[in-house]
Amino acid sequence: MLTQPRPIRLKGRSYLALTLTPEQPFEDWLVRLDDLASRSAGFFLRRPVVLDVAGLDIDRAELRELVTKLTARQVRIMGIEGASSALLGSDLPPAMANGRTTADFEPPAAAEKTEDHSSVGAAPAVPDLPKAAPSLIVTQPVRSGQSVVFLEGDVTIVGSVASGAEVVAGGSIHIYGTLRGRAMAGTTGNAAARIFCRKLEAEMIAIDGFYKTADDMEPADRGKAVQAWLDGETFKVEALA
């Protein structure tokens, strides 16, 4: 993929979105929503909103009707969480999953959005995470020809990564051993991901699609314990103290 001249870069990115959790009966809930909206005019306008229908006894027609009613109130639903795939058709917003809750929302202030929504496994700096970001720990050496792929989060290798082996992570990569093969961190669009290794002898390292081959690396960094990260579009490699 990386050897092609102009690859299309697919990235995941997480955004904050407001989440609405409707309650049944919907008529009563909509009255309360109208009441809230009347107190802060234009509150939902242009705001991305996710509808959380988890736990609701609802069929497809009811869901479509609810979305229509919300649209009439200028609440634009960008995605639906907690619905079974059978419930969602092409005429409804796409399914969302793995959202993380942030601090509760204060309607009158109307300043910040409430809910963080990660579409593709990135790990934003949000306080009070209910769940730790997933990580993968490999306690054996990664042999030539083997490939460790973990797009959900960080990868930790307790051992070395051989020449001709590769580690691909959605998050950061930590190698407690020598990195002789390839390490690709932040492949799902996480530019904040880093690569750490005890000894750098890598064939290639990459973060979020930016890469450095062995030839591009500073000879002074080779054989050292280093970390690599992205500073804007610049690849930085620095020896660990």
Partner: protein, 271 residues
Amino acid sequence: MGKVIVVTSGKGGVGKTTSSAALGAALAQGGEKVVVVDFDVGLRNLDLVMGAERRVVYDLVNVIQGEAKLTQALIRDKRVETLYLLPASQTRDKDNLTEKGVEAVIGALKANFDWVICDSPAGIERGATLAMRHADIAVVVTNPEVSSVRDSDRIIGLLDSKTLKAETGERIEKHLLLTRYDPARALRGDMLKVDDVLEILSIPLLGIIPESMDVLRASNIGSPVTLADQTSAPAIAYFDAVRRLRGEQIPVTVPGEKRSFLGKFFGRKAA
């Protein structure tokens, strides 16, 4: 039940066949029943190295395809009576090896021999994966140079994933046999150091076989080096390797160096 050893490397020309013959002959001289199986169908050499090329009638493929009985294909060594050879076919190709057939042959050999040594072909394809499939122990033959080390690393990965032991959740026992080690070139820094190879492959060291004319001479007269010249440096190294295979703890010496590497290498055995 006997133990099945696969002698493998990934890369060609590193000394798999020489080592299979030498280890087999060394084990058999201890009185145990040993069979060395040539898996290199189409490019057989083990019969030459063991001096049995004139006595080959049936081979592994014949047995697998039911054209001959196992006892008809086995060739007993003329010098050591507990040493046997199961030759490969030179005229067929590796597609004639079936998984079921290999399983049946290895099973029958295990029941009748103390050690079954499978001489793997080079590469990582069918022949090599079938040779390692039923192994209990793998001897990874490596030369102290980068391409050989990388190929060995690849093979170790396959040993940990493609063998029956690996698939049933057990771990296959793996040993490194460093061959063609040249003390003069090591001194000049032309070869990878023993330490570096061990660090990269991180499996225990079974022995270091020095590069020697004795090995070539033994191969040419059709005799494993552990039979042809038992006092030569490579023969002694193979005999020591066999003692380690049997579980003895004896220090590994690096050819050309006086001091024992016991502490140094046995300290890393767990790696």
